[in-house]
Amino acid sequence: MAASMTSMDELNLAKRLKDGELTDFAELVRRYEDRIYNLCRYLVRDPRDAQDAAQDVFLKAYRGLKDFRPDSSLYTWIYRIAVNTSLDYRRRSRREASREAALSDDLPSAQPLPDQVYESKEITEAIQAALPRLREKLRAPIVLREIEGLSYEEIAKVLDLSVGTVKSRISRARDELRNLLRKHL
């Protein structure tokens, strides 16, 4: 997935973006809107907040075009903005407190019907309910790995961490998620 992101086409777009032309920026939005929105849905969870966060990601990207170095990869840059914005959103959200309080009731029932467990929607809800219970520093690495399919090296670039740290955080996130989602495994 990520390998295809660094094509010549992508490099050309990265160079053109420096000129600040709106048509080039529109191309960037069109290419990344689904990936960024999907990432926000798993990091922010609330659909409205996720949509606002995704909008903010692109606005920040547009404002930050002058600081973008065309030699660095476009997806690393935009994913980094998305992760930071999403985590900020979760921290800032006024609804956060009430949502967290209700979280224990929010997890899917302990004994769901077998045929429902494997439905994508149920699984998604179970994962979305479990992710906020992870420590913040574990949340982004596991989402980038399992949902976005990024490699350890790519995650390290996006989060500005060493590959070793990424490896250990993903491992710890999986351990914690195994406990949180045990009923569904």
Partner: protein
């Protein structure tokens, strides 16, 4: 290898991050250890769970709304022009605009003031001039009356 070390290798194993020797030792241990095998199976199930989770698509019209927001916040050509110049040039530019405006304002006032004075003088001269004085302009009742009286006096 001991179980606690093997458990730390489960996640890298799933992501194919183990070297050949590590992988061989890991698989060999897993075959003989039911506890570690259970942990591996659960972690693999977690991977399947994530794989079956929904992938969300941006809502309809999302990109259009983003671009509308960007254009709304897009600075005018004037502010972009100034923003791209060094600070001293920006300050000089603003100073020049103020100086030109000030000069324009002063000159405009002087011109308007002179024009008014000239106009006023012309109006006074015209009012006092006997050359243009007409006590009874033609085509008025007064003029007709004067003509009648002149004709009567002549007869």
């Amino acid at each position: 290898m001991k179980c606690h070390r093997i458990r730390k290798m489960i996640s890298p194993y799933m992501d194919d991050r183990l070297g050949p020797a590590e992988k061989e030792g890991f698989i060999s241990h897993i075959r003989g250890c039911a506890f570690c095998r259970k942990d591996l199976e659960e972690t693999q199930s977690l991977g399947h769970l994530f794989a079956s989770a929904e992938r969300f698509h941006a809502p309809y019209g999302f990109a259009t709304r983003v671009m509308a927001n960007v254009q709304e916040r897009e600075p005018s050509w004037l502010s972009r022009f100034f923003a791209s110049r060094p600070l001293f040039l920006r300050v000089m530019g603003v100073a020049m605009v103020l100086i030109v405006s000030f000069i324009g304002l002063i000159s405009g006032n002087v011109l308007v003031a002179d024009k008014g004075a000239i106009q006023r003088e012309a109006n006074i001269q015209q009012a006092l001039s006997l050359e243009v004085f007409q006590a009874t302009p033609p085509d008025t009742i007064g003029a007709i009356y004067v003509t009648i009286m002149e004709v009567r006096d002549a007869t």
